[in-house]
C-alpha cells in the first residue's frame, strides 16, 4: 500500500486518498445558517462560519491530519493525532454556532453542513485505517470505544454544541428522546433475545435432522427477503385479529400496530442468522472430538452442553452480532407503525423537512450499531481466543 516518495520516505496511498478528501472538506461549507428551522439554510464557508482564528485552527488541524495521513509516523501517534483532530473539528462545529447565532433571534438555526461531515468522515476513515493496521486486542478495542464515548459525552455535556440546531431539536424533545432510546434498545435487544432463545434450539433441530434443515432454512430465507415495511404491514392484520379474538392477548401488549408487530418482525428477521450460524457452528465441531466425547461415556445432554455448544459458541455469537447490528438499524422503521424508537424522529423530521430532526434519530442509531458491533466483535475474539492459542505465546 506504500510507495517510496521523493525523499525515500514512504507515501501512504490510502492516506493520500483520505488527505484529498480532507482538503475537499475544507473547501465545502462548514455550517449553514437559516433564520428558522423550516427554511433552507444558507451555506457558510469556514472563514465566515468560524471567524479567522477558528478557521486558522481548523486549517492547522487538517494540515496535521494530512501530514500523518500521507507520511504515517508511528501508528499509535497517528491514531492520537486523528483523535485530536476529530475533537477540534467537533468543538469548532459548536463554536461556529456561537459565531453565527444572531443575538436578537432565538429562531435562527445553525446546522452542520457538508464540509463538517466530509472532514469528520476523513478523520474517522483515517482512524479506522490506522486501527485496522494496529490490530489492537479485543480488550483495548472496547477500551478505545469507551474512551470515544466518554469524549463525545464530555463534548455534548460541556454545552459546546448547545447552539447547534440538532441540539435545539434535542432540547425541545429531551424526555421523548430518552423514552424512544429506551424503546429502540428494547426492540433491538428484545427481538435479539427472543431470536436467540428460539433460534439456537431451532438450529440444533436443523443440525440433528438433516431432513428438516432445508425447509426451515428456506422458509427463514424467504422471510429475510420480504421488505421490512411490507412485513410490518403483513403482520398488522393477523396481530390485530389475535388481539381482538384471543382473550388475554391484548393484555400482554398484542396489537395490530405498535411495538408488538415491530418486535415480531425484528424477531423474524433475526432468526435466519441465528439459526444458520448455529448450524454452521455445530457442523464445524470436528468429528473426532464428537466421537471421543461419545466414546468416553458422555450422555447426549453432556455432549451438547460440554462439547458441541461451547465449540459452536464463537460462530453462534457471530450470528448474534449480525442480528444485533441489523436490528438496531431496522428498529428505526418500527416508528412507521407506532412501534417507537429513534425512527420516530427520523419520520417526524422527514415530514417537517427538518434535517436536524432526522439526524437526531439517525445519529444515535448509527452510534449504537457501531458500538454494538465493536463490543460483540471483541466478545467473539475472546470466545475464540483461548482455544486457538498457539504454542508460541508460552515458553
Amino acid at each position: 500500500m506504500r510507495s517510496a516518495g521523493r525523499f525515500g520516505q514512504p507515501i501512504d496511498r490510502m492516506g493520500s486518498v483520505i488527505a484529498v478528501i480532507a482538503v475537499l472538506g475544507l473547501c465545502l461549507p462548514f455550517t449553514s445558517f437559516s433564520p428558522n428551522r423550516i427554511l433552507l439554510g444558507e451555506p457558510r464557508w469556514i472563514f465566515s462560519a468560524l471567524g479567522a482564528p477558528g478557521a486558522l485552527i481548523l486549517i492547522a488541524a487538517v494540515l496535521a491530519l494530512i501530514v500523518v495521513a500521507v507520511r504515517p509516523p508511528a501508528l499509535w501517534l497517528r491514531l492520537g493525532i486523528c483523535g485530536a483532530v476529530l475533537v477540534v473539528v467537533l468543538l469548532l462545529a459548536g463554536r461556529s454556532a456561537g459565531v453565527l447565532m444572531p443575538a436578537e433571534s432565538s429562531f435562527a438555526r445553525i446546522s452542520l453542513a457538508s464540509g463538517f461531515w466530509v472532514l469528520l468522515a476523513s478523520g474517522l476513515l483515517l482512524s479506522a485505517d490506522t486501527l485496522s493496521r494496529l490490530k489492537p486486542p479485543p480488550g483495548l478495542r472496547v477500551g478505545l470505544l469507551v474512551l470515544t464515548g466518554a469524549g463525545l459525552w464530555a463534548i455534548l455535556g460541556s454545552g459546546a454544541w448547545d447552539h447547534l440546531s440538532i441540539l435545539k431539536e434535542y432540547e425541545a424533545r429531551a424526555s421523548a428522546f430518552w423514552r424512544e432510546a429506551q424503546q429502540h434498545v428494547a426492540l433491538a435487544f428484545g427481538s435479539l433475545g427472543l431470536a436467540t432463545l428460539a433460534g439456537v434450539p431451532l438450529g440444533l433441530v436443523c443440525y440433528r435432522h438433516a431432513r428438516l434443515s432445508a425447509p426451515i432454512l428456506n422458509t427463514l430465507t424467504i422471510v429475510q427477503t420480504i421488505p421490512s415495511i411490507a412485513l410490518f404491514g403483513l403482520l398488522m392484520v393477523p396481530l390485530a385479529w389475535i388481539a381482538a379474538n384471543i382473550p388475554g392477548a391484548r393484555a400482554i401488549g398484542v396489537a395490530g400496530i405498535g411495538s408488538a408487530p415491530a418486535l415480531v418482525a425484528l424477531f423474524a428477521y433475526s432468526l435466519l442468522p441465528v439459526v444458520s450460524n448455529t448450524v454452521a457452528g455445530l457442523a464445524a465441531v470436528p468429528a473426532s472430538v464428537r466421537d471421543a466425547a461419545a466414546g468416553m461415556g458422555m450422555t447426549e445432554r453432556q455432549r451438547l452442553l460440554r462439547v458441541d455448544l461451547p465449540l459452536a459458541f464463537p460462530v453462534i455469537l457471530t450470528g448474534i452480532r449480525i442480528v444485533l447490528v441489523q436490528n438496531i438499524g431496522l428498529a428505526t422503521i418500527a416508528a412507521l407503525i407506532g412501534g417507537g424508537g429513534f425512527g420516530v424522529f427520523v419520520f417526524q423530521g422527514m415530514g417537517q423537512t427538518a434535517t436536524d430532526l432526522i439526524l437526531l434519530g439517525a445519529l444515535p442509531t448509527v452510534l449504537l450499531a457501531f458500538a454494538a458491533a465493536i463490543v460483540l466483535d471483541a466478545c467473539v475474539d475472546w470466545s475464540e481466543g483461548r482455544k486457538n492459542r498457539g504454542s508460541g505465546d508460552r515458553n
Partner: protein, 311 residues
C-alpha cells in the same frame, strides 16, 4: 477378558461384520488388521456400543455389555482414536480428567490421577497440565489422547488407529511407549490398524479381517508362518515373511556362550536388528550385552536359521 461371540452388524442387506467370534485374554493386546471397509472399526465400535450389534454378544469379564446403559459402559472402557479427538476448548488437564469427572471422583483424586498420567506419558505435569491442546506437538497430543483414555482406570482400552496421524519416527516411539505402559498397568487392549507391521509388533494376537469376516486370529508368529487364507498371506507378504519372523524374536533367545569381536548388541533388540547390524559391519558374530554387561554372543547363521519357515 473380552469374549465376542457370533457378532454381526448389518445395515439392511449389507453385512459389515459377519459372525465374528474371538476372545482377548486379560492383559493382552489384540490387533485387528484389515483394509479399509473390512469392518475392523465397526467391530471395535461395537465393543463400547458406539455401534449397536445386529446379532451376537460381547462379554467383558463375563458381563454382557448390553446389560447396562451405553454411556455407563463406555466410562469403564478406554477409547483412543486417530487424530486424538482432544477437546480444543479445554486444557490438557481438563481433557484427561473427563472420564474421572463423569465417574464422580473427588477433586483431589482426579487431580492426582491427571498428574500421575502426565508423568507416565513423560509430560511434566506442572508444564503441561494447563496448556491447551493446540499448544502441543502432534506426538504430545497423541500421548494426551491415550492418557485421557486411561484416566478412568479402565480394564479395557480400545484404540482406533491411534498412531495413524503420526510421522514414522514419532510413531515408532509411541508404539514402544504404549507397549511399555501396557506391560506396567496390564490393561487389555483391542487396537485397530491398517498397518500389518504395527499389528505384528504390538499385538499378542492379530485378527485379520476382510469383507466383514474374521479370516484368522492367532499370535503373530502363526499369522506369518501359517496364513489361513491367501489374503492373509498377501497381507503378510511372501518377501517379508523371514524378516517379520526375525522381528518377533529377541536376541536374548538366540544368544549362546562364547565371545565375539566388535560392538555389542542388546539382548532386547530383535533378531532382525541383529542381522542388519552383522551384515552391515561384515561380521559373522557379535557379543550380546544385557544392561551393558556382555552375556554371550550371537552368530549370524544361527540368526538366519530363525528366519526359516517353522517345520
Amino acid at each position: 477378558m473380552i469374549e465376542i461371540e457370533q457378532l454381526t452388524k448389518s445395515y439392511g442387506p449389507n453385512h459389515v461384520v459377519k459372525d465374528v467370534s474371538l476372545k482377548v485374554p486379560t492383559g493382552e493386546i489384540a490387533a485387528i488388521v484389515g483394509t479399509s471397509g473390512s469392518g475392523k472399526t465397526t467391530l471395535l465400535r461395537m465393543i463400547n456400543r458406539l455401534v449397536e450389534p445386529s446379532a451376537g454378544t460381547i462379554r467383558i469379564d463375563g458381563e454382557d455389555t448390553s446389560s447396562q446403559e451405553a454411556h455407563a459402559l463406555r466410562r469403564r472402557i478406554g477409547y483412543a482414536i486417530q487424530g486424538h479427538g482432544l477437546f480444543p476448548h479445554r486444557t490438557v488437564g481438563q481433557n484427561i480428567a473427563t472420564v474421572p469427572e463423569l465417574l464422580g471422583w473427588e477433586k483431589a483424586r482426579v487431580n492426582a490421577r491427571v498428574d500421575e498420567l502426565l508423568d507416565l506419558f513423560q509430560l511434566d505435569p506442572d508444564a503441561y497440565r494447563d496448556r491447551m491442546p493446540s499448544e502441543l506437538s502432534g506426538g504430545q497430543q497423541q500421548r494426551v489422547g491415550v492418557a485421557r483414555a486411561l484416566a478412568g482406570e479402565p480394564g479395557v482400552l480400545l484404540m482406533d488407529e491411534p498412531f495413524g496421524a503420526l510421522d514414522p519416527v514419532i510413531r515408532q516411539k509411541a508404539q514402544e511407549d504404549l507397549r511399555a505402559i501396557q506391560r506396567r498397568i496390564g490393561t487389555t487392549i483391542v487396537m485397530v490398524t491398517h498397518d500389518i507391521d504395527e499389528a505384528i509388533s504390538l499385538g499378542d494376537r492379530v485378527a485379520v479381517m476382510d469383507d466383514g469376516c474374521l479370516l484368522q486370529y492367532a499370535p503373530p508368529a502363526e499369522i506369518i508362518a501359517r496364513p489361513a487364507t491367501e489374503f492373509v498371506g498377501a497381507l503378510v507378504g511372501a518377501g517379508e515373511r523371514p524378516y517379520r519372523m526375525l522381528s518377533l524374536i529377541p536376541v536374548g533367545d538366540v544368544t549362546e556362550d562364547g565371545s565375539a569381536e566388535g560392538k555389542a548388541i542388546s539382548d532386547e533388540a530383535t533378531a532382525r536388528d541383529a542381522v542388519a547390524e552383522l551384515l552391515w559391519s561384515r561380521r559373522s558374530s557379535a557379543p550380546v550385552a544385557r544392561r551393558g554387561e556382555v552375556i554371550g554372543r550371537v552368530r549370524l547363521d544361527a540368526l538366519l536359521e530363525m528366519g526359516a519357515a517353522p517345520a
